[in-house]
């Protein structure tokens, strides 16, 4: 698992890398107009690697995780990690001019960190305070930066150049890398990913079995999901193109 929460010393490097990616994303997206997936050969290679890793390593470990831990514990851990991502949501809501959302997330963080025992429980949702999941990739999308071509990352899976830039930038917003040893954020990230993988094991297995082409399934699902996240579905009339036109 890669360490995508760099320590303090790495931040300059991370920022330069982010800017380079941004430039790269702009160039790449210009040529991606016709072809949805210009990097398909490369992507399919990484996809096969990921599928292998999932089948022989990540999946079995996640199953073991699932076997040892009761569902309630897994769900609580998921909420804990989610609560820890508060700074990312807060900053990006502000960067997208969503002041009310930012304040609601702040309220969630205060309630869940105190009454919710650090975030293991989620009393804020009971009180009607919903999380507004925003990240820097979405912020870039909000300001009109295109996602660039579909990109599959080793172990992390579906992504895009814009999303990669976002991940790097968001890592600066996570609090704990500043005062912990480098392996702590790495361990936290791995545990978070493993826990999520375990929670969605059934769904993943079912999708894998039913898809005619699981690579295309993932690509389409990822692309739609990110587009939808950027658009904030509830207030948008979605542009579905010719999706609902019956060809007589």
């Amino acid at each position: 698992m890669t360490n995508d929460r760099p320590s303090n010393a790495n931040h300059l490097v991370a920022t330069i890398a982010a800017l380079a990616c941004l430039l790269f994303a702009g160039i790449a997206s210009a040529e991606a107009e016709e072809n949805k997936d210009p990097w398909e050969r490369f992507n399919r290679g990484i996809f096969r690697f990921n599928e292998g890793a999932d089948r022989y390593v990540v999946g079995p470990v996640a199953k073991g995780w699932d076997f040892i831990l009761p569902d309630e514990v897994e769900l609580a851990l998921g909420r804990l990690f989610d609560n820890a991502r508060f700074p990312i949501r807060f900053i990006n809501n502000l960067l997208q001019e969503k002041l009310v959302y930012a304040v609601e997330d702040l309220g969630r963080f205060v309630i869940n960190t105190s009454i919710g025992l650090g975030g293991l429980f989620d009393p804020a949702t009971e009180l009607g305070l919903k999380a507004h999941d925003e990240d820097f990739g979405q912020t870039l999308g909000y300001w009109g930066v295109p996602p660039g071509p579909y990109l599959v990352l080793p172990l992390l899976g579906p992504s895009s150049p814009r999303h990669v830039v976002g991940r790097v930038a968001d890592s600066a917003a996570a609090v704990y890398p500043y005062f912990t040893m480098f392996w702590v954020p790495a361990l936290v990230t791995s545990t978070d990913l493993l826990n999520s993988r375990s929670l969605y094991d059934e769904t993943l297995t079912a999708e894998r079995k039913s898809a005619l082409d699981f690579y295309v399934f993932q690509r389409n699902a990822y692309t739609q999901y990110r587009e939808d996240q950027v658009l904030d579905k509830e207030d948008s009339e979605s542009d579905d193109g010719d999706l609902y036109e019956l060809d007589e």
Partner: protein
Amino acid sequence: MATFTNWMSRKTPIPRFGVALTVGVLLLSIPAASAVSEPKVSTSGSQSPLDARGVVEKTVQEVLVIMRNPSLSQQERLTSIEQIVYGKFDLTTMSRLVLARNWQRFSKEQQVEYVSLFKQYLSNNYGGRLSRYDEFEVNIKGDRSESNGHVTVRTAIVGGQFEGAELDYRLRNADGSWKVIDVKIEGISMVSNLRDQFKEVVSSGGPELLLEKLREKNAAPASAD
């Protein structure tokens, strides 16, 4: 692109007990909370989105009743849900939307076989999964008329593992009744997703390869483990 004034009008959930408001930092959310009310649909217009919403509401309730009935076996449950879904979903239209332009490449016989394979494929892959998710309520959040006369009904799952998951149903009115032609799960349209997958297959091996792959999948249903 949203403007700065947008955040005032964004729909935010109303804190159910107002307890949240006692937290000082939340004071800012009051203007938004009080401005929120679900978009009321006028019943006077010739178009009646309430009907589409009603269809979804009724279907969801019927399905939930079946899923919670402990006296039914898994198989009975599936069969009853299938019957409801076949009645409320326009699977023929859905299957054609999935094929898009490729529909023309299918002969009459292939089209007929494709539609029936498609129905089987959906109920194998989604019906089986549905029956496991029985500890939730469904909250109808609102509806929206689309430019081509369709209506989207937005719902969210309350409780259980999928708490907060959003499901949008797109309905089309044909012969006076509203039927579902697409489901968006967390923003992911089923029609769009299947269209991409099926397109890949048809462009590599023509209609016959798609039919073959569907026959294969249907013979070994994903839910049979």
